[in-house]
């Protein structure tokens, strides 16, 4: 298996009202192509911070993140943005859909930003698999939480990224919807050969992962 993503010695400190918080304390991890990783840990352990740094949403204080052999943080902001839309998909606990756009536009935006149009067959396949075909013309505010998360998953895979990050993707969903969502995430990752990295505190979900990375006090254990 090829390593698609690795992080070496990542440190990250935040300033908060109660003083400095060491979110990450020299984390070193690597991720293989097509595998499903679950990052677990208690609240405040640094797992979301790690995910954001791995996904290029945040920068570490020190350390190195390598994607397919390239140093992610050597990229300019411009290049980083392009990297994100081409190689990375995100699924968030809050769904983070764009309220002013239809479902169809939401899932196509990463492609549009690249000046591309969605492959109709692939769009059909993804929306069919995620069960959102009937929702394409609706706006996010008209959807339930589960539906919104399925749209978020569709958006994360339509540009065929190598890696999909999911930050507590089921945190706002009930058990049934949560199971369905995770099943869809895993299925789509498997079908499209994507590396799936999920941050969760749900051990049940973590147990279904190929690999579990546990973070405590900003370190992997």
């Amino acid at each position: 298996m090829d390593t698609v993503l690795s992080a070496e010695n990542i440190y990250k400190t935040y300033n908060s009202s109660s003083g400095k918080v060491n979110a990450l304390n020299g984390v070193t991890v690597s991720f293989e192509q097509g595998e499903f990783y679950a990052i677990i840990g208690r609240s405040g352990s640094g797992k979301s911070t790690l995910l954001h740094i791995l996904g290029g949403l945040d920068r570490p204080d020190s350390g190195k993140v390598t994607v397919s052999g390239s140093d992610l943080f050597a990229y300019s902001d411009e290049k980083m943005a392009i990297f994100r839309r081409r190689h990375i998909g995100f699924v968030f606990q809050q769904y983070n859909l764009l309220e002013d756009y239809t479902v169809l536009n939401n899932i196509c935006i990463p492609l549009k930003l690249d000046g591309k149009k969605a492959d109709p067959d692939f769009l059909d396949e993804v929306s069919g698999m995620l069960g959102i075909k009937e929702l394409l013309k609706k706006y996010p505010s008209e959807l339930s939480g589960g539906e919104q998360q399925r749209v978020a998953i569709a958006r994360s895979v339509l540009a065929k990224p190598h890696i999909v990050f999911a930050d507590e993707p089921t945190g706002n969903l009930d058990k049934k919807t949560s199971d369905e969502t995770m099943a869809l995430l895993k299925e789509s990752a498997k079908r499209f050969g994507q590396t799936l990295i999920v941050v969760t505190h749900n051990l049940e979900i973590a147990r279904t992962a190929d690999h579990i990375i546990q973070i405590e006090d900003g370190k992997t254990v």
């Binding site: 949403l57 983070n96 990463p110 930003l113």
Partner: protein, 949 residues
Amino acid sequence: MNSELFSLALQGSRRKIRSSRLIFAVLAISFAFFIITLSVDSSISESSGENALNTYGEWYGAILEGLPEDEQYLSEQAWADRIGTSVNYGEANGFGFGVIDDTFKDIGRLDLKEGRMPRALDEIAVEANVLAELGYRIGTDQEIVINVSVYAEDPLGVNQPSNITFEHIFKVVGVLKSYSKIWPVSLQNLKRPLNGIVMTTATAEAIMSTASLKAKSTPLTDAEGNEYFAEPQQPQTSYFFTAKGDGLDGIIHELSLHFSKTRHTAPLTTQYVINSTPHTEITRQESYSTAYTAVILIITVVSVICIYVVRMQAEARQLAIFRGIGITKRQLGVMLFYETVILAVPAAIVGAALGIFITWLSLRLLIFTDVTAIRINVPMKRLAVASAMWLFGVFIARVCAFAATLRSSLIGKFAFDRKKSKQSRRLRAVMIAALSVILCGSAVYTVGDTAVYLENRNINSHNTDLLITRRDMSYNPREKDFSGVGGVSQKFIDALKSVPGVESSFGSENFRVGLTFDGIDDDRIIKIQDPNPNEAVYYGNNTSVNQVNPPFDGHFVDMIVTDGDVIDLESTGVDMEKFKSGEEVVLGFRVYGDGKIHVGYTKFNDPEVATIDEEETVSDFISSGGSYSIQFVEPSDNVVYTSEIFDTDEISVDVGDEIGVTFYPRRPIDYNDYFMSDCDYSDPIEVKTKVGGIMITDDSLRDLFGGSMVPIESYTVICSKEFIQKNLLDSLDEDEYFDTNNLGFNSYWLPNREFEYLRSFVILDKTNDPYAVEKSISEVLAGSKLKMTDTGEYWRNRYIDYNRRMVFSLTSGGAVAMIAAIILSAILIMEAESLKKNSAVLQALGMSRRQVLLKNAGVSVLRGVLATAAGWAAYLGLSLAIIPKTAEGSSGEKIFVALDLFKSYFGGKGILIAIGITAGCILIISALTYAARRRLLKGNLMQKLRDER
């Protein structure tokens, strides 16, 4: 254009237009007021320009009474466009007569009011004024007799022959628009008057032939006693031209050059004129409109920033998501620009339509006169520049609002952090305060400024337009030939009042009378002028001083005789019945711009009076810091006219006091001796009367009575004609005649002892074209011994000017206030939305609905009071900062100073207006705040508690 980004912006905006009605409304209204400010200014300027061109002609310059080669010179100049000629042959009653060509008629915009131009012998087209002054009805199809005067010249250059004058019968075929006394070509530039009477060349030549024959009837004598004859002067041609191009300044230089080559006598400059009045009017740029549009632009930009910042929580999240999924900053900038265009362009279209409609409506409603026929004009060039700035401003506002967002972290829930939320709240509070101040400040300015112009407009609307006087005032008292005496009777004045378009008509007479008052306090100003100290100086053969006062002791003041309808005498407290019956009079005191009474008196360096130092002269007086003016009397070492300044509360006379008014009757010795340098005086007649009221008046009273025509000095006795009839005329013997005027000017005789006014003034409704009314009045005058002179051009132009300024002030200042109110309202609504949760918490804790309403009412009123106070402070601060520096004691033009403005222009009303504006501002701000906060009680309590904003 990046089509995908545009498509994304478009799709997002479709949804946003629904959710961004507020911004859309702000942008649309902002643009509407942009259009209104620019269009109103442009429309009014263009209308004023057109009005000026119609009044003064569109010719650019003229060579007056030129040489034949001048026409050739003009035709060879690249800058000269059309050249019109006016040939003068002579004059009649102060109007020129002669021939004008079609180009002159066109570039002078000399429309015919009726009829046609002359084509046959003895046909003429005349100005309405000519007919009115000659006592004919204004209209065509009538034969009139005109006393024509042809200028004569002495072929030997020995004598100065009189004009050759004779009567000629003409047929009036057309009435021309008045121009000859209006155009900026005065006798200073022109030896002969402009042609108010236009005829064919054949008619003019026929008059010249008659003049040649007439000249032969009056021989002149040379030094050796030989007889010879004067000859008519050759006609004089003036060339009027329009000019091409923009660089017209050089024309004056080129004309000067031409004159220096072709003329050999000075002064050269008086022989050409530039028609600067209309061209200055046309090219005048309204700097106010630029300031107003700048203010509107600033308010718009700041408001858009504010609205976006307040909406940042929602918008920032969306932008952060975009960035999270890979949009670059450049793409984001482009998308924001597209979004701005997509939102702003339709808003601008809606705003433009709204703006043009409101402009049309405002101008139609506010400028309702024929005189100021308005042309709606949208200045496309200025608008394009302003629109580009507006669009750019809106885009920059949006970018500014999101500059912070672009730097924000992309992690987590993309929630708006507390710090930014606090900044947003602060910004919102600052905006609310700033907009409230702008709203109140602009409301104060707009109401005050508009009211000043309105007041001035209305004052001018009541100024006189026409003067009716006796046409022929010749009489011979020694021969008891009074066929030419008398004035304008009350009956005639009443007849004028019934003419449609006449607002008012009133008689006017002024005397010089003596005034005595037992309660004179030397320390107070009723002491008036020094008594006549020296008859020899006042009166006698010295014509330089003989027009001051009659040769009697007394305090000489002016007297106005009026029927009381045109002056607001009632406010003086006088019983109008007693006034009209002649039982009481009103004492008028004239105040100057500083609100004080300036009392003039004359000092004579006479050894017997010795009122000034022997060595003191005018120069000494000035150098010692005094101010002086010379009235009637030329300054000399012997006579100094000076003044003292008093407050109005220093007047020593009170209502109810008895005063003595003395008339000084006299009889001229020589026939037609208007100046009465030699006359007999009868015994003075003193009349005791009661002061029924005291009037403090400014120049408006003088303006009402024809400006300098009726001298209104520091003191004026205002009485009714019954006062004169009862106290003066009725006391005469049956065969006694009487001169009513002691100044020596405008004397007339009342042999039949029935009072008649020396003159009558007519005030027209200035919203109408005066021609139709003047025509009707001329029909009333026809056959009488009265003539009509149009003196109202100045007042009508002032009326138009003040009307224009009033409309501009109202619309532009109003535009700023309106946009501030609308944006303020929008931000207050947003503020209320953000307060919903807090309010819900208070309600959940037990605050009743009534308590919430009371709390909101309290906050609203407090805000109203604070904002209004700040608005006044801002307005006054700004006013004082830009007040033009004026000399001490001079009134100056304090356009922006509210307090002075209210005090000077409105007097007692000023306080009420200021209170009204203040109350209005408090009410508006309070109402807007309260209306916005009523939303706090709307909606489900639990939903509001869950609100995460």
